[in-house]
């Protein structure tokens, strides 16, 4: 591919092909950080600099109040992940990073679905809710709010089921994850 300094025109196909290595799987990165201002900006900045899109991101306290846990997911089919992980390791406030293998990981996400449902539709929606072990957390004459917890797949499946009722809106937390077994994540 030509260089910016030279005269030759660049084709868009060439530009797209030059993206780099892809691993092809979704990555769940579990990042243990010092609970200090600006840490999230630094982490997000490393992804932004490379033009990576973060699919989900959650931040929360840990059992140690000095530390926070950032869990983020990115699509390895879209972005080469290895270089970013190495750069993340260099951040002074980052203590530990795990790129969690799906098979060895428990992940959960919480979602709230606001559904337009009255009359007969309501009963049907509540039946679906029960199958997914969801919880109705708000109800009015014309709507339901249902809470569902589970893997991303389960939440997406639930979404497909309730969409025909009239999905007003959906809120998702993004995944949190922990490694299976006794060892620390």
């Amino acid at each position: 591919m030509g260089e910016p300094g030279t005269k030759e025109l660049l084709s868009l196909e060439e530009l797209e092909a030059a993206g780099g290595l892809r691993t092809g799987r979704k990555h769940v990165l579990s990042i243990l950080v010092e609970n200090k201002p600006g840490v999230l900006s630094r982490i997000a900045g490393l992804f932004a600099r490379r033009g990576f899109n973060i699919d989900t991101l959650t931040v929360g306290p840990t059992d140690d109040e000095q530390l926070s846990r950032v869990t983020l997911t990115v699509d390895g089919a879209m972005h080469p992940i290895d270089q970013v992980t190495k750069q993340l390791h260099k951040l002074v406030n980052v203590l530990k990073i795990r790129d969690l293998e799906p098979a060895g990981t428990v992940t959960r996400e919480l979602a709230l679905f606001k559904i337009a449902a009255d009359g007969a539709a309501r009963a049907e929606a509540m039946q679906v809710c029960e199958i997914f072990r969801g919880k109705v957390v708000d109800v009015t004459r014309r709507s339901l709010v249902i809470e569902v917890t589970g893997t991303t797949d389960k939440i997406e499946a639930f979404e497909r089921m309730v969409r025909p009722f009239g999905l007003i809106e959906m809120m998702r937390t993004g995944e949190i994850a922990t490694s299976r077994g006794r060892g620390e994540t």
Partner: protein
Amino acid sequence: MRAVDAVMECLKAEGVDVVFGYPGGANLPTYDAFVDAGIRHVLVRHEAGGGHAAEGYARATGKVGVAFGTSGPGATNLVTPIVDAMMDSTPTVFITGQVRTDLLGTDGFQEADTIGITMPAVKHSWMIQHPLEIPRTIHEAFHVARSGRPGPVLVDIPVDLSRADIPYEPVTDLRLPGYQPTVEGNTKQIRQAAKALATARRPVIYAGGGVISASAAEELTAFATADRFPVTTTLMGLGGFPAPHDQWLGMLGMHGTRAANYAMDEADLICAVGARFDDRITGKLAEFAPRAKFIHIDVDPAEISKNVPAHIPIVGDAKHVLAKLVREYRALEGVDPSRLDAWWETIRGWREKHPLRYDDSADSEIKPQYMVQALYEATGGDAIVVNDVGQHQMWTAQYYHFAKPRRWIGSSGLGTMGFGLPAAMGAQVGCPDQTVVCLTGDGSVQMNAQELATCAQHGIPIKVFIMNNGYLGMVRQWQELFWDGRYSHVDMGSFPDFVKLAEAYGATGLRLEDKTTLVADMKSALATDGPVVVDVRVTREENTYPMIPAGQAARDMVG
């Protein structure tokens, strides 16, 4: 004690002997503390000059360079030096004033989000949130700046917090649980590298700025001479291996020697030490060193396999790793030095067939390449030479043969025009007994010429040699070669009159136009007291060769 006095105590405890800076509203308390602190402060004329001076000081001395600025524009003017220091791994501490905490985020007068603006360009930064954090933070800042892969750090101090009264006790324990650079290098990996080197038939050592940062020049020579390994370095690595040495191939890369680039192209094993396979080195990545396996030694794990996959990765500081590597190599039995005979034969062939060359003028006209050779002669090859960016920088790398580390200083990664003059000033402050030369271009020098006033006021006797061709020469060269000679905004004319400019600033100004007396004239300029600006008129349209055209491979070198 006032928090700002604690800052001064911390600086002293860190061994800081000079600060380059500029005062303003948000760092008034800090500047008040300078009055009694007993730390030398050099008042620059632009914060960028102060930042580059801190870089020049750090590069020349190996110590941490320090620059101060106020909030808002003071901080934004430091951005270029900060990015520059990041790209060239220069240990620097930037301390900026910030508006008072109740104004933060309100677009207060001279407020800028300094932490946010600089975040992608610092090794780390700290926003002070409580005055009691100040001493520990300053010490952590110095530790992070100088250890591991060195780099710039920034501490932003809101002006109200800097006025607090705090108890000060020297800080001895740092709290950086997430920061533990690997220095030593894995012994097993090092042993494996030694074995690979012992059987390689066409090995090359490719060394970079990491050798200079780690003060590993001696170890590099010991390693290279443990057998007869050919050595090339990047621009940042110049002086890391003595240029007069028989095993020296010259610099590699876009304007490197053919011997160095062809050796990389044909090598079967490349040992990269503190170098990062920058695009100016590799050219077309897919065709870079196609026959080689790679040993990659770097203190920064993120550099390893970033651009070129390493077969034997070694994370560690060049000094430690090379010392171990030499021991491991010497301990090997049955190494046959004659296996390299054919390789050296080939290299000698390239050297003889393709030495660096140019057509000298038949009359008194000064060719730019000759200007560098003349300066090499006039300085006895032993000056600290600080470059700006452009053709003159490449000619310096080619024709000034650096024998020692920390003798070549320039902006490499970022390629910052305007770096040279203030960096030379910083280098001179750090090394008052050395001859410090700023070899610059007529374009670059104008980007921070105001620091001549600083040099004159503080008696900083740098010698500025301007390679004046009246063009932005490197851009002109590319327009000539790759854009059909359509010159677009590269002609600088004969402005300003550098002799008068020098005099106006309180420096000595000279103009040299005659090749036949150039060395002698340069010597007398070097012998002149105080800062001197020498306007050397050179051939206007001369190209820097040889050259790997952009995006091509070493084999495609032209010129």
